[in-house]
Amino acid sequence: MTTDLHLWIIPLVPLAGFLVNGLFGRKAPKPIVTAVALIGALIPMLMVSAILFRFSSLTLPYIQHIGTWISAGSFHADFAFQLDQLTLVMLCVVTGVGFLIHVYSVGYMAEEDGYWRFFAYMNLFLFFMLTLVLAENFLLMFVGWEGVGLASYLLIGFYYTRDSAANAGKKAFIVNRIGDFGFLLAMFLLISHFGTLSFSIIFTQVTLHPALEGGFLTAIALFLVLGAVGKSAQIPLYVWLPDAMEGPTPVSALIHAATMVTAGVYMIARTHVIFDRSPVALATVAIIGTATAFFAATVGMVQTDIKRVLAYSTVSQLGYMFLACGVAAYTAGIFHLVTHAFFKALLFLAAGAVIHSLSGEQDMRVMGGLRKKIPITFWTMTAAVFAISGFPPLAGFVSKDEILYQAFIAPGPGKLLWAIGLLTAGLTSFYMFRLWYMTFFGESRALPHEEEIAAAVHARRDTKIALEDDPHPGHAAHGSHGHGIHESPWIMLWPLIILAILSVIGGWMGWPEGLGGGNWFAHFLEPAVKAAHLPYEQAAVALSTGALSTGAINGANTAPAGSKQIEIILAIISTLVALAGWYAAHLMYYSRPELPDRMASSLRAGYATLKNKYWVDEIYGAVVVAPILFIARWVLNALIDRGVIDGGTLAVGYTAQGFGALVARIQSGNIRSYAGWLALFAALVLGTMYFGWAVHWIPR
């Protein structure tokens, strides 16, 4: 089929939206800004839908060259876009969830200053994210990769008058630079070995040359992992994501939960051909993912800020996706990416609705009893909580179970990874239900005057007091309601409802074969991420190192006999674990609310460790940031910059000045002294000419 899909239009529409809103939005009336932004998100979604409907008639992968970008010697990079199953899945997630969050933001940001700025950045983000997903070579992907980082930075620092937001934006950007550095090195290695950055050429070459293995592929893969770790907030570079919650909540939902942070997972799945050749890199990915999943879940258990709980939950769930990629179960990783996009976007948006209804309050300790007051938010949130906790038949159960199953049947330390993953699932269930109970159940713990403050803030906003007067600009208050706690407007609730439905049924497309399903999703995705067949020896090596499993790739086909029973048993176990987490949360935060405090005081050290997030920020501050700042401040700035460079320049200047001052005395204004100098030197010249000693030192 040779029809032109015009893939290039998909990213360019949001770019146009960004340009229009960014250049003219400040003066434009709000409805026009809204319309431009929504069209910028809607057209890509419609185009993706159109592609979806004719997808089966396409020859894949569909590659479209728009033009030459760089042509330097033998190296070429094109503006080229690629469409295959993996791209399509990502496109659906990015445009679908992206559009819903745009709609939601219309309600959420309605009262904010900088409304146009927000939507311009959101469209810019969509542009870069779609470029990242559609790119056919590493370089174009890197443009999107950097661009989403830029959009993320701009949106985290959206409330730029607040110091913490500006700092969080910088932190995200700088930490991501470390990952980008890895990505760049990987690209340099690829250029030096393959002379190109095109996906199709590199992957074909790797596939066609079984002898290509070991050293440099591992190096490339590990550098790519470094990039993915930075972007997807894994250990050790996850520290920026919790701080990124300083941005508006729709941003957290879109960028820091559903799409951008999954770019690392997408990149690993996209470059799986390289990873398949490098057991070491795969093992690294699996270990990083598992460790991050567990670590972040433990921190998430004790956070009190509703968005920070969700942030650590995101880090933890991304860890699951890494775990899946690490055991070469790319379809499971991407599947979890999709379902996670549904329920985590929903969780963030619902949390945003809660925050909205409480006029900017984010601390769960002063929430409570919201179930009756904001019923629609409550029910959608409930769907998401059950989904992420892994209760059948919701989306999170299906995808998480697939990952755990793939980890279980992976050779080597797969069982250990499975066990930690299972434990993490229990923790996930616990902290999600803790959030659920603390927010929606029990008595309202709002301080007595809290509602009055909320009402007062509303009143203040209504009189259009400028942002600058507010000591804590942020998502403070909205609407013209005179009362405190209120349900959000419908434009915010509809996206919640749609996402809630997707969170419930979204997993059914990948219902595992062991439970009577067809795992349609995995079969759909398989052509794009199926591992190349390895030579026998290499497979043996891979199996003995225990990180790569061809069995895991092909799922049930080559898995050990009786895998269906294993799958069922594992599903039952993980459901029980999820129930246990629920029960623990129920006990501690509903039936016996005094229990958490007692446990916190009896396990003081452990609680403090979790509460302070293992002091990772402090450790990084002391080990990395402080020495760098010290070097920057005292060596580079004080010594090199001000001492050597400034000093050298000043020395030159002062020398010229001093010499000039000395020589200037000759210009006395006294004509006879001028004549005297002239006569003196004329006499000298004559003398040397006559006596001839000058002849010896004037070079001929």
Partner: protein, 100 residues
């Protein structure tokens, strides 16, 4: 026949007197006259050499020098009058505004 060296010695003496007068004298008119003295010392050398080598170009040069000296005298005297009107003095040590 008077040897050329005599002319040259005389010229050197005249030139040196001109230089010394230029450096020593404070009255601007005297300074001006010492310049004329130096120019004419040079003229004497020109004429002497022209005579010695039987070449007319030296004599021609003397005319040029005279013309330039006459022009310089005209301009210079005009400047001296202007300075005197402005400063009411002809002492060069007091006319020293052109400095840093």
């Amino acid at each position: 026949m008077v040897p050329i060296s005599w002319y040259l010695v005389l010229s050197a003496i005249l030139f040196s007197i001109g230089v010394a007068a230029f450096l020593i004298k404070r009255n601007i008119i005297t300074v001006f006259m010492s310049i004329e003295l130096m120019l004419n010392a040079v003229n004497l050398t020109f004429v002497a050499f022209a005579h010695q080598w039987h070449q007319v170009s030296g004599q021609i040069f003397v005319f040029f020098v005279m013309v330039v000296a006459a022009a310089e005298a005209a301009v210079g005297l005009a400047i001296i009058i202007a300075v005197f009107r402005a400063r009411s003095t002809l002492n060069v040590d007091q006319i020293d505004l052109m400095k840093l």
